[in-house]
């Protein structure tokens, strides 16, 4: 007989916000002690806000080992103790109400959402992008299963035979706790920033990849196949480890708009490239306009390893994302190629960070930002070269394109170079779509809109050509929609 405990579904008032941390020596009889069903009930009516209690219940529902539960609780403490960043779009950031957010997403079937609830502009975008029917329901959070599940599973079997581990983070925690515990939070500790701390406390879903030494995965691994709505998330935690001499390309996100009523997305992505390894991480993200997309992405590159971030950000109300590479071993290389498109009512605060902490390392940052119709795109970058990093090469190029006079672009490049024997190149350009170019293209029969679109696509070409073909095509179509202004 399960002992029943009543948890109030209402968010606790400030006075009772911090109950004492529950006894962590739970062991296997947690079901008896707390009642799994009660944990379900706890979330059943939908619980907003985050607290130690929420963290505890979440961890129980997921049946996590003790060390992870502790990690979550400790991280939550860090989250509470840290203040909001004092840089960036502080107005928008301070408008986030942490108590008004769901931190644990119930299984879709129970949410009772229907296709009718999905906003028209989202449906229109699916139509314009030619998204298949089943995918639409999935993307809109109306259906839990995606037909590609089958594709994913067969691919997964091939990989497993080679010793490549590719699974969602929750499963990895259960099946490969050895590796997870070894590397998790070594690249991004909870103390890094408030949102990393939040993610560390309430993370759910995300991908886990481990590639054994010397193996080249060959095909790009895509999150898209294996997401189910639980992982569609708000607080994804991704960890990729490429062991010595291995190679892997991971693609995250999709160009179709992701619609969810949960407006805070705070993911953490950690990459570890051991000696001679190669990791490329591609993201095309297109969030709906009510969403705060605050991501901490960082990689550590060991000796002669290479990490490449290919990062495309479209949509959202506010995106803050600064993919980072720590070049820790001699000869390591880092490259960040980023595109941000800010339309009406959007603020893309994107950029890159590279830390040269070893000699003969090299890095390249290429940032392309586009602002239209009052949108605001920023480049925020940091390149730091430590004294021991002799003989390194750095190249930074940030280009901003203003489509019209209502748009705004800001550039905050920072360089801290503490070593003379280095080669640094830095270029920053702001341009408008030129009248001469429009005239030239129109003189060949292209309409003004077509001309403008061609110019914008040309502007992001260095980015688009790094994408797999189908993504490039989708991205171009998406830009076309954005340029028309038909995405709400």
């Amino acid at each position: 007989m399960v002992e029943s405990r009543k948890f109030s579904p209402v968010a606790p008032s400030p006075a009772e916000a911090r109950p004492e941390k529950p006894d962590l020596e739970i062991g296997d009889d947690y079901a008896t002690k707390f009642g799994f069903r009660d944990a379900e009930n706890y979330f059943h009516k939908g619980k907003k806000g985050v607290s130690h209690e929420v963290v505890e219940m979440m961890s129980i529902m997921k049946k996590e080992p003790a060390w992870m539960r502790k990690f979550r609780h400790d991280s939550f403490d860090v989250f509470e103790s840290k203040s909001m960043p004092k840089w960036g779009d502080t107005d928008l950031l301070n408008s986030i109400d942490f108590d008004d957010i769901y931190y644990y997403v119930k299984p879709i079937a129970e949410q009772g959402k229907s296709w009718d609830d999905v906003p028209d502009n989202i449906k229109n975008t699916f139509e314009r992008l030619g998204i298949p029917e089943a995918e639409r329901k999935f993307l809109a959070g109306v259906s839990a299963q995606y037909e590609s599940e089958v594709v994913y599973h067969s691919m997964r079997d091939d990989l497993t035979k080679k010793g490549i581990v590719f699974m969602d983070m929750d499963t990895a925690l259960r099946e490969r706790p050895d590796i997870v515990q070894k590397y998790l939070a070594t690249v991004i500790p909870a103390a890094d920033n408030k949102f990393a701390a939040l993610n560390s406390a309430v993370w759910s879903g995300g991908s886990f990849i481990y590639v054994p030494p010397g193996l080249d995965v060959g095909i790009p691994l895509q999150a898209y196949f294996r997401i189910n709505t639980e992982n569609m998330g708000q607080f994804e935690r991704t960890l990729i480890i490429a062991d010595k001499g291995s190679r892997v390309h991971y693609i995250e996100g999709c160009t179709a708009p992701v619609y969810t009523t949960n407006s805070l997305h705070s993911a953490v992505v950690e990459l570890v490239a051991l000696e001679d390894a190669y990791i490329r991480y591609t993201t095309i993200q297109n969030w709906a306009n009510n969403i705060f997309n605050l991501v901490t992405k960082r990689a550590v590159a060991h000796k002669n390893a290479t990490v490449e971030w290919v990062d495309g950000n479209i949509g959202s109300k506010l995106t803050m994302k600064f993919p980072c590479v720590y070049l820790m071993g001699e000869g390591a290389k880092g490259e960040i190629l980023s595109v941000a498109f800010a339309g009406n009512g959007q603020h893309q605060d994107a950029g890159a960070k590279v830390i040269h902490a070893a000699p003969n390392t090299s890095s390249r940052i290429t940032s392309k930002s586009i602002s239209k119709n009052g949108g605001r795109a920023s480049y925020r970058g940091m390149v730091k070269v430590y004294p021991k990093a002799t003989g390194c090469k750095v190249s930074v190029e940030c280009d901003a394109l203003l489509i019209d006079k209502d748009s705004r672009s800001d550039t905050y490049p920072t360089m801290e170079i503490n070593q003379d024997n280095v080669q640094i190149e830095h270029e920053a350009r702001v341009s408008k779509v030129s009248e001469e170019q429009i005239f030239y293209l129109m003189s060949r029969g292209l309409s003004e809109d077509e001309a403008r679109l061609l110019i914008v696509n040309g502007f992001i070409e260095p980015f688009t050509k790094e994408l797999p073909m189908e993504y490039a095509v989708e991205l171009n179509r998406l830009i076309e929609l954005e340029m028309e202004g038909s995405i709400g």
């Binding site: 003189s443 060949r444 292209l446 696509n457 502007f459």
Partner: protein, 256 residues
Amino acid sequence: MKKNDALFVIDDLHVSIDDKEIVKGVNLTVGRGEKHAIMGPNGSGKSTLTNAIMGHPSYAITAGRVFLNGEDITDLPTDEKARRGLFLAFQYPVAVPGVTVSNFLRSAVKARFGEERATSFRKDLKAKFKELEIDEIFATRYLNEGFSGGEKKRLEILQMAMLEPSVALLDETDSGLDIDALKVVSAGVNRYSGQDVGLLLVTHYQRILNYIKPDFVHVFMDGKIARSGGFELAHELDAKGYGDEIAAGAKAAAAN
């Protein structure tokens, strides 16, 4: 002047840039299959004329009309003029980074002819590259980015070849070309302007006219056509320079 019969008519055109009048009343009729050369010194307004006809946003047509196949196209947007068969080979083609020559041309061909031409596009393009002796690598290069002057001019004529205009305005196509390039480009222009095409070739050197033989030569001075004649007029200018014309013009102006 029978506006309805002629292929291309410029009727008393006046063009200003920032309130300064540059083209001061030009009258010109180009019939089907006719080649007209406009020669004049620098600063006479030749380029302003052709760019304004095409619809350059900085140039204002303050008076006069332009007719193509009997239709008044003066105030149409640039792309509509192009789709009706008007073409301008620019003197200084602008670069469009990130847009490959091939993609650009495909869009242009589609705008002019519609989707059907798309199927034979690659073959057509390849053939034209060969005829104009342009390295195929240019198909994948970004439009006009890093191209030499000569390469840009060849590419302008390549575009003319692909778009099959009814009226082609060539703005100093010869500048920046060495003798061999000039021959190839001229052969191309001749090849792509058949019996039905009207050509308006703007230049201030006579040399190109040895390869693209004009039916009519017009001397352009101070925003107007000062004199018109046949091919021999080009030789006369070549021998004597524009000095005489300028003097004649100044004399006429002083007399008024």
